[in-house]
Structures are given as C-alpha cells and as structure tokens.
Symmetry: C2
Subunit: 718 residues, 2 copies
C-alpha cells in the first residue's frame, strides 16, 4: 500500500462513484477522461475538453451596468469509457464489484478491474486499461479485456458517443450549470463512429471518434481473456465554420501508452519530488504533480481551470489560481508550459483592456476574475471583479517566469505589454489621499484574496501586489536597456516616473495595536467571528451565513495578508511575521483550498515544523482524502500546486529573484530526506536535504551562485 | 391655466400616453385606475390593487445563503376605462384626438374629452367622467357620454375585463416584471360581468365586476349626447380559499362622485396648503397632496408603494420612503391613516424577526428593505438588505407619530414592541471597537440612504438613527411609567441599561479636515467623482457606470448625512450645517427623487432662499413635468411627500417633539403668503405666514405652547 508512484483504491477515502471518477481521471491538458464505472453510464462521468465551452446569458435578480453578461460553461462530453454489455439473450451485464483500480504515475496508465453479472447470474470479469496521448494530445486508448467466469458464449458490446447529462439540482456556486444548446451530428466515417459537437452561442466545434462500430459481438470462452480495443479521438477545439483536421485513430493501446510513458519519464526527470520516510505523503505529492501536468493547457490558448480537466466544477473557468498556485511549479520544472500559460493571458489582453473601460478606468487592462474566453464571467462582483489583484498576480507570475528563465524573448513579445497594461490600470484605478498627514496612494472598494472580507479599502495584499506590478515596469525597462533592446511597448519617461512615484507611495496599512500589517483599513475595527458559537457543520461559512454576516466580522477564508508576506520574503521581520501568522491564523477558517499551502510554507519558514507539517498533510492528500468534501466536482488544482509550494518553498525554503536563489532546510522531523529537481536560469538542479544538511547539485548548466541554509556559495556543474 | 385645484393637459409637459396614464391616475389607497386612452387598450393602462401581488423565485447569477428568495410583483389588472366602439357596419372607432383631460382635486373627478372616428370618417365625441369611491373603497364609476358629430345611428359598445400585459423589455431595475401565473375565471352574475383573478404562488384573490354586459347597442342622434354608465367593483384582496364578500355595484356616477367629494373636502379641511403668489407651485403641491391620499393604504395591512397605486414601477413594493417622506404628512394631517401605515409594519414584524435571524443577528427584528408581504424582496443586498437603517426609520416614524398624537394606545398595542425589537437588532448587530483611544459602538458593512456609497463602516445616518432608536425605548418606558401603565413588552433593567450605554457611545464619524460630520469611515479618503468629465446624458449614474466605479468615489445619489441633520434639528450648529450642506451638495447628483426635498428644506433653514426655492420647484411639480423621465412607470410617491416636507418643515420651519412645536418663517421671496393646516396633539392648527410675519391659529383644541420665529408663546383656541 502507498506505493509512492501508484494510486490504488485503498489509498482513497471516499469510494462514492463520482469521487472515484475525479480521483482516477487522467488528462493531457487538452482533454480529460473521468474514471466512470463503464457500465453505469454515470451522468457525472464524461470527457472534458479544456476550453470547449458554451455561453448563456446571466440572469441577475437585479442587474446593473457593467455586470458580466454571460455564463461560460465547460461542456461534459460523451464518456469514452462507457459501454453496454449484453449476453446472447439480450440480458444486460451490470457491475457487481469494483475489484481494483490503479493509476500508475510513472506510465499514466489507468487499470480497472471489475466483476460484471447478469440478473440470472452470468459472471464476467472485465479489465479496462486506459491511456491518453501526451505528444498526440487528441487520442486515447481503451482496452477492455473480458474473461467469463461462469459461462462460455457470445456477448454484445455496445459503445456509443452518448450524452448522459446531469441536472444541476442545488445552488452551490462552486458547481457547474447544465448546457442545453449543443448540436450533435453523426459523422460519416469509414471505420468506427464519429460525432461532431457544435455549440450554439460560442460557435465552437469538437469532433470525437471511436475506432469501433456501435455494436460488436465477441465469442467468449469461460476463463479465457478476450481483448476488445477501442481507439478514441478527441479533436481540437475549433471554430464551427473553420477547417477541421482529419481524425486519425490510434491503432492499439501500446502506441498511446508508450507516448504517455515517455512524457511522464520527462516530467519526473525534470521535476520529481521524493520524500523518504513518509510514503503516504510521497504518494500524495507525486499524485499532485501528475494531475497538475495532466491539467495544464499547453497551446497558449488554454490555461488550467480550477478543476483542471478532471471535472466541470467552477464551470471550467481559469482564475488567479494559475499564476499564484500552479505556475510556480511549471516555471521551475516545465518552463515551456509556464510560458504557454502566460501566453494565454496575452491572448485575452484585448478583452482585459475593454473590461477596464467598463469599470470606468481610462487606461490599462483588467483581467477577468473568472473566464475561459477572456470576458468576465463572475456573476457576483464583490467576490469577482472586485478582486482586482488578479492583474498584479498575473504580472507577478510574468516577473517570476522571467527571473527564473531569463526569457527576454517572451517578455518582448508578450510579457512587457501585459505588465505595462496592468501597471497602467493600477495608476488610473487608484487615487491619492491623506493618511496620517502623508499623501499616499491607495485603492478603494476592492476585495483581496480572502473572500470573507469584501469591498474594503486598501487591502494590504492588493496594495502590495500593485506596488510590485508598478515596480516591475522599471525593472523590465532596465533589462531591455541592459540588453540594448528597444521597448516593445512605448512608455514615456513621464509615465515611468509616475509609476515610480505611485509605487513609492502606495499605502500599506499597519495595525499599531497588534504591531502587524493590517488586512485593510477597517479589518481590526470589526468584531472577531463568533467561532465559539459556530457549530462544525456550519463550515464552510459561505454556505451557512449571509455575506453581510461574514463581511462584518474579522474572519478569513484563506491567507490574505499572509500571502503577501509569503511572496515578499523580505518585507516583514521574523518577529512581526510570527505575530501576523498567529493573529491571522486565529481568524482563518481555511474554507478555501488555497489556504493551507501558504500557512504550511510560512510555518516552515518560522520554524514551526509541526504546524507546517500538519497543514501540509491536509494539502498533500486533499483530493485523495476528499478533505473539502467536493472532490467529486473535480480536483482542487490550486491545492495540487500549493502542496508543491509547501514542500519546495516551505520545507526546502526555496526562494528566488533574477539575482539570487535561496534554499533553506526546514525538513519535517519525521522525514528522513527530501529531494527534488528543478530548473533555474537554464540549469537543471537537484536539491537534497536531510537532518544532516542540504545539498544542491547542478546537474546541467553553468555554475550557480546560491544561498544554502544562510551560506552564500557557488556550485559548479557536475 | 394653472388653476391651483385642477390639473389639465396644458399643465403637463409630457403628453406621451403612458405618462398621461400615470399623471391622471386616480386612486383610493385600495386601488388605482391609470388614465389610459380608453380606445387604445394600452398595455401600460390598467387597474392596480394595493397589495395584490404574485411571487416568483429570484434567479441570481450567483446565489448565496440568506438571499431574498422571491420576487414580489404587483399585478396590473384589467383596465376599467377600456372600451371598444363600432358602428353598425362593424367599423371600429379609434381615437383621433384627445381634446381635454381634467382632474378636479376638490372632487376627485377625472374628465376626459376625445374625438373618435372610423376609417371612413364617422366622427364621435366621447366624454368620459370617472370617479372612485373613497368611503366605499371597492367601487368606481365611469360615465361615457357619446355625441355623434357626423352621423346618426347605432353604435356597439364592448366592455370587457381583459388583460393587455406589457412585456418587460429592458433591464432598468426600477421597472416591474411581468406576471405570468394568474388564473382568471369568469364568474356567473345576474347583471353585467365579473371575473375572479387568483394568483398561483401567493394564493390571493381579487374579484372585479362591471355593471354592463360585454356588448351594448346605443342608438345615437347626431349632435345629441347619449350617456352610457358603467359601475365597477374592485373587491378586496383575500385568500383564495377564504370567503369573499358579495360585490355590490354602484348605481350611478353621482353616488360615487359624492362619496369622493366628501372625502376630499375633509382632506383639504384638515391639511390644505395654500400658496399665494405662485399658482403653478400651488397647483403642484395640491396635486401632490391629492396623490399622496390616493395612494395610502388605510386598512393596516397595506402601505404606500413607491409608485402608489398609479403604476407598477418598483413592483408595488413598500420602502423606507413611507416613514421618512410620506408619513410626516399623514401624522400632521391624517393621523388615522398614519396609524394604519404603522400598523402595517406591526403586521410584518414576525417576518422581520425571522429576517434578523437569517442575517445572523440573534435578537431583534430587521424589516425588509423592499417588500409587500414582509419578506425581503431586494435581489441586490448592497443597496437592499444592507440598508439596515430602515429599522431606525420605522422607529423614528413611530416616535414622531407618538410625539404628534400622544396616542399611547397605539404605542401599547403595536408601537413599543416594534421599537424594542428594532433596538434589540441594533444592540446585537453592532459591536464595540476602539476609535481614537475611546471604546465606541458601531455598525459595519452597512449602506446608508445614499445608494452611491455601499457597504461602508459607520455610516453617520445609520449610526445616528440607531442611536435615536435605542433612546426611544427609554423615552417610551418613561411615558408608560408616567401613565402608570405596565410595559406591553418586557424589557429588563439590564437590557434598558445596555440600550442606554450603547446609545451614549455610538460612534458618529467626523471629518477634521472639513470640520463636518463624515458620511462614513472612508468617505473622505476616496476621490471625488469626476464630475467635469461626466456628460449630462450619463445621469443617473447607476445606469451608466459599474457599481464599483460609483462606490469608490465620493458621490451621493441623495441626501445622507444631511438627512440626519435635517431630522435632528439641534445636532449640528448652523456654521457646521452650512459647511456640511456646501460639501455634500457639491458631490450630490440628486439621481434619487428623494434628494431635493431635503436639500430644499435645509437650504430654507440656512436662509438660502433662492436655493431652497429652486430645489423645491423641482419637487413640487416633479411628476407634472416628468423631471425624472420615468413618471410613465408611476408617480414618485416619496417626492410627493417630500414636496410637502419642503414647504412645511422647510419654508415654514415646522419642527416638533412631544414637548415643543416650532414654526419659523422662511417664506420664499416671490410668494405673498403661505398658509397650511395641520394637527398637533389633538389640536387643529392654521399656520399662515407672509413677509410681514407669521400667525398660528388654534382652530380647535387646547391652548398651545409654541415657538414662532424664535419667540416662545402660548396660543389659546379661537
């Protein structure tokens, strides 16, 4: 049990079918296959294509100018696993028992073993082995192996590309809406079957094909295995009127499996994390890295949705989660994918500029809080559009990508324009005011990362991130100057100076009583949430209390000011950081899956090993244990990235700028050893730490100046 | 022209049919008849019954716990004026010309003269005289007088109780929604016709009847008048399963007209306002008083909707407008109706207690921001439920009613419980915090009257009104003690003391820089709205800017802090009041029809006669001139009451507590004389002022201690 590179049924707490569908889903960034029971035709099973979505007008109880106009909803496509099996008399086999299910993280192969039976007692063993293409991201292979246990004879296997859509029955805003406006056309094909799915409003198209006809008859012999191979194709997302590439079905399981295996070999080679001494955690972190890679769009036009391609929760939308929780992993292990994720933002920059105008800001760009196509899809602006910080989060991600890769080409072509446009937004959106006799710059009616405190003034995180955003312009201008390159986007000297003056004078609220950074201007005036009178079943609070009740109390859904402390390593001295940690921790519910990773990493930095470990425990196996109770809707992608952050930036204390890489050993007591790989400015690094010390090896690339456990040193390549 | 007691077509700016339907609508508090062109079968014409409404689930873009569940929508019932007229050949007459339309404010009679014609040129003069019952509030009379101008012969008059519903085509939140879920049953009657309208969700019923069959043939002689009388009945609103009173149709126009005339005689005798020297304004104020009386529910179970019974705008909902803008008129002229309006609030107190629980407040009651049945119907909580001040507004109204009437019986039976429950709300909703080293009590995440500033901390108006609410408990306890009466609702000494301590320590924000009361904690940190860059057509702002753009600027839709100054006469010294007035005026758009009356009254108090007059001009004839551009949706009831406030509490400087009545002469320059009647503590008073002085006469009742133009005096009865 707890093979660190295999996920099996005993590793999973919740065996409810929809939960297993998510946990054992596999994907390749373009599409994902939920691990449904193939015989059940589950409404929650299906195939999810990244960025294949439909829109529908948002109905508001009371509408207002500038509200997001359309829902954007990812579409649950026909389940590639689904199958119907009948005997000669037409009696249907149903699932008697799920014998085993194993996901091999080294190969990406998912193997399911089941016992099927008819009502009159015929028993049939089914093994389904599934692989998904990684180089060819449009294919999957499903091999069904039937072994009759109690009979010999014919069976009929029916495979169709059919929709079994779920009706959404509750109001939980974290779930998805049903899409009704699809046109499904059968396509004429020489072999097998194919359909074309067209959306009415977004006018998008995807084609799907199977290598087999709708019905196949197999002649089985008792206790002998008969294989039934299904090659599947899930085409790219295209405009409904455009050309569409010809579908080429995979010939066999081996072709697809080998493609997958090579891909995963490279993933582990570039970014494995190995924990010695704690197999469940090692397994957890491997799983998380596996699913991160399975979910990330790699084409520059898709991103990582909040649930990846593992489920339709949050409607397949992309959030700030990408830049703040997932991008760091890709920057340090798969920079090519990191670049593509940022390129996606560049491609929606026109919509972001338009959105800023709608918000009354005359210059700059405001990225949508949640979106697929770049338009704002948040139907509740206090916890949506008001989270302006997404602009600075994206700028931060670009800055970190550049610091770790030195990829000035990307900055020239895409990155600089985004950083300038977001800086312009802050300069035009904010305003000067007087605080304690000093003229300062701030932002009003904003919502920080903590969604339990909305529409406040001078949210510390927002202000600090905006400051960084503005400073990045100057830093990149200097980089262009150093490289003797002209600015790809014109920024006047006056504008540069304005950015600098604003950045220098951005107001960062501080609470004198507690001697800590203040989450916002009014946070400490409010009463602390009545935690003692809140029954455990009333969490998450957002499902049990009116927003007005939540907002008027000191209560955090997740790290907010602490997230700024986490990002800006040198901002806060350790004693203040400790006070801030203690205070904000005491009012944080961790109702957001984005919370614990940051608390873990900061605890590690503060030397609170047990606490760091405890928070990390929750993040590392969050979806394997269904900790949030809603893994059935899809994986918590941000948390998958967050658990990697906990390890690499928490326990290993990794921190970097363009000038410096720092590693600090905060190894948890019960781990013997932590080792991981990463890339930094063209070098392949191996970091290894035990309770006896820390070792960093340059596996490839130039010698490296580095600070290890407080000691500056230079390491030559191996 | 401008007969001060007659409204005629030349008095109206906008002759668009829907605008005329509103302006010439007549009502009796139970129902209203929009003055449609009878031949046009206008979708916006119809009959509006106060409190006859349907519910439908509110759909939210993103829902959350505790949101208002249902829309409540007033129903537009069949138009009693509608008629079809055809000649012997079946050719229909249509309206050629509206010759005249006159509403007599002394009698309540509406007379419409029209020329009708067929396509082949038959011309017919129609005079329609309409009266609505005031003592018998279930009847109306419509007399159609036909005079053929170009022919003699038969005509067929068709009258049906038919629905011509309008489709709502835009998103303006101030309009109403269409109701689809009505059941309409024909009823068997001996004479004429009758229908029963039943709502599916609210399970309410109203019966309507006409004294005539669907078709009547009239034999007309050229140039001779032939009368066609239609008696109409609009029954009470009842439960669909309950007993329903037998409908009794009025026998003729005279019966109904006389009932109306007697009612209006009494209204003018008790509360006329006469302005000498400005006929248009005199007419305006008479019209406003007329429509106020036409709109007010008188049964203790209905109230005054934002549009009265003159239109379906704002869905027939009751707001805080009643207590703050309309109730003062009724308290001082028709205290019986004032009591019934407050009784309505008592009858929805159970729903208010439940609402407080939903908002997380463990004791007390929170009245719905907008409602018919007592449940919250506001689908946008930042400008709805967050306007907690409605609780204190209702308490204020009760306090003023008691101060002016001494009606301890009402306080015993209803008023005290409401004041205690609202005080309990404030005590449990608010919290202690430290401001400038002092422990103070405040309220977080609230919205004051100004809806262009939402979800702020310590809104001055809210805090000051809550303070008054809490103080009222102690004042009424003393009244009970003085009267030797037990408290009708138990309030422990501890609770009394708590209320007192809280009231004494409520935080009232003050801005040092400007030396004025501050609208809220953050108002002065925000930048002032870019008025210079705002084109005229972008007002009202709410239709042209995102709420986030509006909220993050200093901009007022209406009086907010100034409203508190207006209500609490002695709070602010004159020089500070002047500074506050100047500052807040400079950031106020008056996009709310509730704004100008307060600015007028305060300007009068501050001796800015011209300004007071100018604001008053807008309020006095707001609907006659269609100043807000949406009178077609219904009258602006709060403004009708507000214009009375401008005169009586502004120009005449009337101000009262239980112990003192004050009158101060601020007569506008171009008025010769202002005279009005009112009631105060059982006395009937006549106030009369000219530029030569002020005279107050006690027409009936005990001698009166009064302060007139700063001089304390005693006036004996005449």
């Amino acid at each position: 049990m707890h093979d660190p590179f295999v996920i099996a049924l005993p590793d999973i707490n919740n065996h409810a079918p929809a939960n297993l569908e998510t946990v054992f889903s596999i994907g390749n960034g373009h599409f994902g296959i939920r691990a449904s029971d193939p015989l059940s035709h589950s409404a929650t099973g299906g195939t999810i294509v990244n960025g294949f979505f439909e829109t529908a007008p948002i109905t508001y109880g009371e509408s207002a100018y500038g509200y997001a106009k359309n829902h954007q909803t990812i579409i649950n496509l026909p389940d590639l696993r689904a199958v119907t099996v009948t005997d000669e008399a037409g009696a249907a086999f149903t699932t008697q028992k799920l014998v085993s299910q194993e996901l091999d993280l080294h190969t990406g192969l998912l193997t399911t073993e089941m016992i099927l039976a008819t009502l009159d007692g015929k028993r049939l063993h089914l093994q389904l082995t599934e692989a998904i293409g990684q180089t060819n991201q449009n294919v999957a292979a499903l091999q069904y192996t039937f072994t009759p246990l109690s009979f010999s004879g014919k069976i009929t296997v029916t495979k169709k590309l059919a929709f079994y859509q779920a009706a959404v029955t509750d109001d939980d805003p974290r779930k998805a809406r049903a899409v009704q406006s699809l046109q499904i056309d059968d396509m004429a094909v020489d072999q097998g079957q194919a359909i074309q799915i067209t959306t009415a409003s977004t006018h998008l198209r995807v084609q799907m094909a199977l290598s087999v006809p709708e019905t196949t008859t197999l002649d089985l012999t008792q206790n002998q295995a008969t294989e039934f191979f299904v090659g599947a194709e899930v085409g790219p997302v295209g405009n409904a009127d455009g050309d569409y590439p010809t579908l080429v079905l995979p010939p066999d399981l081996g072709t697809v499996a080998e493609d997958g295996q090579q891909y995963w070999q490279q993933v582990w080679a570039q970014g494995t994390v190995d924990i010695t001494g704690d197999k469940p955690l090692a397994q957890g972190i491997h799983y998380n890295i596996f699913q991160l890679n399975s979910s990330a769009g790699r084409d520059g036009h898709t991103n990582i949705s909040a649930k990846g391609v593992s489920g339709v929760g949050y409607e397949g939308h992309y959030f700030w989660d990408t830049e703040m929780y997932m991008l760091p992993y890709f920057i340090l292990t798969q920079p090519t994918i990191a670049k593509q994720l940022l390129a996606y933002r560049y491609h929606i920059l026109p919509q972001a500029k338009e959105r800023a105008r709608t918000l009354g800001v005359t210059n700059g760009a405001l990225f949508a809080w949640r979106t697929i196509n770049g338009e704002e899809a948040s139907a509740y602006y206090p916890a949506g559009t008001a989270q302006y910080h997404i602009d600075a989060d994206i700028a931060y991600g670009i800055g970190q990508y550049y610091a770790a890769t030195g990829d000035l080409d990307f900055i020239t072509k895409m990155g600089f324009e985004m950083i300038v446009e977001t800086a312009r937004f802050w300069a035009n959106f904010g305003s000067w005011f007087i605080k304690d006799g000093k003229k300062v710059f701030g932002f009003f009616d904003v919502t920080g990362p903590d969604e339990y405190t909305a529409l406040v003034d001078n949210n510390y995180y927002t202000n600090r991130m905006a400051q960084h955003n503005l400073e990045l312009v100057g830093q990149l201008i200097k980089a262009f100057q150093d490289a003797g390159q002209a600015l790809p986007v014109s920024v006047s000297e006056k504008e540069q100076a304005d950015f600098e003056i604003i950045a220098d004078n951005i107001y960062l609220p501080y609470n004198q009583e507690h001697q800590i950074n203040a989450q916002d201007d009014s946070f400490f005036d409010k009463p602390v949430w009545p935690f003692a009178e809140t029954p455990k079943e009333n969490y998450p609070l957002l499902l049990h209390y009116h927003p007005l009740m939540i907002y008027r109390h000191q209560v955090n859904k997740q790290a907010d000011t602490l997230l700024a402390d986490y990002l800006f390593f040198d901002d806060v001295p350790t004693d203040q950081l400790q006070r801030e940690y203690d205070y904000y921790e005491s009012v944080t519910t961790h109702d957001s899956s984005l919370s614990r990773a940051i608390f873990s990493a900061l605890a590690a930095r503060l030397g609170m090993g047990a606490k760091a470990y405890s928070y990390f425990m929750d993040t590392a196996r969050m979806d394997l244990t269904d900790l949030q109770g809603n893994t059935a809707d899809g994986l918590h992608l941000a948390n998958l990235g967050g658990s990697w952050l906990s390890i690499v930036t928490g326990f290993a204390g990794l921190h970097y700028t363009a000038d410096n890489l720092t590693i600090t050993n905060h190894l948890p007591e019960n781990w013997e050893k932590l080792a991981f790989k990463c890339q930094y400015q063209g070098r392949q690094l191996q970091v290894s730490m035990s309770h006896f010390g820390t070792e960093v090896t340059v596996l490839a690339g130039d010698p490296l100046d580095i600070t290890i456990d407080g000691v500056q040193q230079k390491i030559a390549a191996q």
